[in-house]
Symmetry: C2
Subunit: 427 residues, 2 copies
């Protein structure tokens, strides 16, 4: 078929009439499909139910390391869980704290701590006139909400196929002492699904920040979330690189089992230098007596070690892969006429596909999908302040619906993209 670009006005109008008929049909089906959030499907959650059977009343609640998981104490987690989470991040075991049910509150608390008390003796951010964060875009809306809430100015950093534009990152970080952090999802990024290249990781470690309290917020949320066993992205270990570069304090790494075991009933961890962790501990010891060690132990008893997690994630991949492939099949087959006008990523893991529509059409596509029963993440959500300057990026979250639902949803999505694009071309 001819590219939309080559079509005459009349051809576009004829096509539009035909697509509108399809759209009215689709609406008539009364669908209710949700691709808005990166929620695991019940099928995936069912795979973790065994976690509930490993720590019953017949099991010794005292860990091999000697901790009664039922009582107070062990602020930084049980040693067995520290080891499990360290292996997931590829970080040294001594550099890892294990926390509660998710990593988002740990990231929030880290910002909050910096805001109220300052990082390792620096001026608390609440006492500064201006604090800025760099935000590779498109990115994770919940990261941006945190910095927005604390009144931190967010600066968009474009993402390319290797990761964030590191020249721009370097320029900001090295020239402006009010730049205190950068939000990164370095592997199977939210929402692009792409992984930072070794050069990008090395460029991060090579930064010479103007601010002593500048930190890289390295949200390694999808460390073990590969779709293909024989074609995985490998992320260079940034803690090792920062150590080599003599900047061990520049990095906070986060991870969790939210998308491994249960979303909201997993365990979360942070890896950082000893100095950084001592700083975290100094305020955390006032905030809590300790996180839920029974759930930490439950995870250790079930997964045993990183190999247990990897085996489990291969089963997840078997569920996720067809969903990703279904979406991409629709895109590949049905969007060729829009080549050069739209683009999308082809992730090898993670939870998202990132779609770039023609500038100025994303909001309208999301609206049209909604009208036909397909809920997407709000257009703009992948940008700070919810403002996509191009109104182009749409995050596709294929995890929750079934393959069949995904098939229907992708069909409607493609239809809406076409309709809105034609409208734009005719406008």
């Amino acid at each position: 078929m001819k590219s939309y670009k080559e079509m005459t006005k009349e051809e576009l109008q004829a096509l539009k009439a035909e697509l509108e008929k399809q759209y009215i049909d689709a609406k008539g089906k009364g669908l209710s499909l949700n691709m808005a959030r990166g929620k695991p499907s019940p099928t995936q959650l069912n795979m973790s139910m065994g976690i509930l059977d490993v720590f019953t009343s017949h099991v010794d609640p005292v860990t091999p390391s000697g901790v009664d998981t039922r009582n107070y104490g062990e602020l930084v987690g049980i040693p067995e869980a520290q080891r499990l989470m360290a292996d997931m991040m590829g970080a040294p075991y001594d550099n890892v704290f294990v926390f509660g049910n998710a990593s988002l509150p740990i990231m929030y608390d880290t910002v909050a701590r910096s805001y109220a008390f300052g990082v390792l003796g620096s001026t608390p951010w609440c006492k500064l006139d201006k604090v800025k964060f760099l935000c590779p875009v498109p990115g994770y809306d919940r990261h941006f909400k945190i910095t927005e809430q604390f009144g931190i100015e967010m600066i968009n950093i474009p993402m390319n196929s290797e990761g964030p534009d590191m020249e721009l990152v370097k320029k900001y970080v090295e020239s402006d002492a009010s730049v205190k952090g950068i939000w990164c999802v370095p592997k199977y990024a939210n929402p692009t699904g792409l992984t930072y290249s070794d050069d990008v990781v090395k460029a991060f470690a090579a930064l010479n920040p103007a601010a002593e309290d500048f930190r890289i917020y390295w949200d390694n949320a999808y460390a073990v979330h590969d779709l293909y066993d024989d074609d995985k992205d490998e992320l260079l270990d940034i803690i090792g690189e920062c150590n080599k570069a003599g900047k061990p304090n520049m990095i906070f790494e986060f991870c969790s089992t939210s998308k491994i075991s249960f979303s909201g009933a997993g365990i979360a961890a942070m890896a950082a230098s000893k100095e950084n962790l001592d700083w975290v501990k100094s305020t955390m010891s006032v905030q809590t007596i300790g996180y839920d060690k029974m759930n930490q132990y439950r995870h250790v008893l079930y997964f045993k070690d990183i190999n247990g997690i990897r085996a489990h994630m291969r089963r997840h991949a078997d569920v996720m892969r067809p969903k990703f492939e279904t979406v991409l099949k629709h895109f590949d087959n049905e969007l060729s006429e829009l080549e050069g006008m739209v683009s999308y990523t082809r992730p090898k893991g993670g939870y998202f596909i990132s779609f770039n529509a023609m500038p100025g059409t994303a909001k309208e596509i999301v609206f049209k999908c909604k009208e036909a029963g397909v809920t997407l993440t709000g257009a703009g959500a992948t940008y700070p302040y919810g403002k996509d300057p191009e109104d182009s990026n749409i995050r596709i979250a294929p995890s929750f619906p079934t393959v069949d639902e995904m098939d229907k949803a992708a069909e409607i999505f493609v239809l809406c993209v076409k309709l809105v694009t034609i409208d734009k071309l005719l406008a």
Copy 2:
């Protein structure tokens, strides 16, 4: 036996020589007993092990209210847990949020939220020159650490047998707009074990604060922790009283199951007005996607309702009662010669007994106990900044040791009290 007060110098010296022999004997036993923290004993924790058996892989993870406890969502807790915790506090179900594994972080976050963002539209505390909290003393060290960390000035309020000195509370709260809060443990208080009288609760509700963002931090940690079935303290419901007085926003109430189920693996809740809860939600929704709903559901499945909790707590009482009685037996039997010089409380519930030694002797008593193998909460810990102006108060925590250990520990404690008191009298 003669009171120490009536003894001559020579009599005291003779007694001291005798007690010192006993002390050397005691030290020789190489004991290692810990009465420092309010930790439940393994016997109590064993009573809760059934919690681990009610939510296995064979149980539907979807609640009767329709929530899949394994997935994201339900920021304010599952309805079934809201009801359970509401009943524990005697608060309306709509006024309750259920959170994570303990209430301390909820209180911390409430202070942190007020500090960074202000209470319900008021100026954030971090932007004010001076913020003050009232601290009934002796009180809970972990409360005081929170306000200390945020640089909040703490003002001691003496406790009497009815609760805090409400005339003084009223004076500060109604005249000084920098007074933003007061820490209360209203039932079986930490460490006095006493319960606020109805008059005191009503006096709280009748306050007319100078600051619009003044809040009562009502830590109802021991709501169901009675020692005697037929002789319980009853705490008037402050939320009802504040509503009657037309000040629904003045109160934040907190509770948890930390000392009911597992310490660190329980569930926590907050009760407050709708306006207050909306404010909490507005920032909490950025901090977290939700707390551990599986653990909430586990608690609901096990306890079923408030009657289940009450039955469970009667079993706890059977374990705690003899420990309290052992300590009090030693005090009653062996401290009569010190009448008028020392005093102690006789709680009907909770986790602590409060001991007032002769002014200027508490630190030395704690030190001497430690030398003989009995660890107590550091003297001063029950006061803001760790400074007991009288150096008199010592918190006794009888929960963790066995009755037999408690017997030995109380004997040594009494011995140390006597020795240090004589030294003081001879000085």
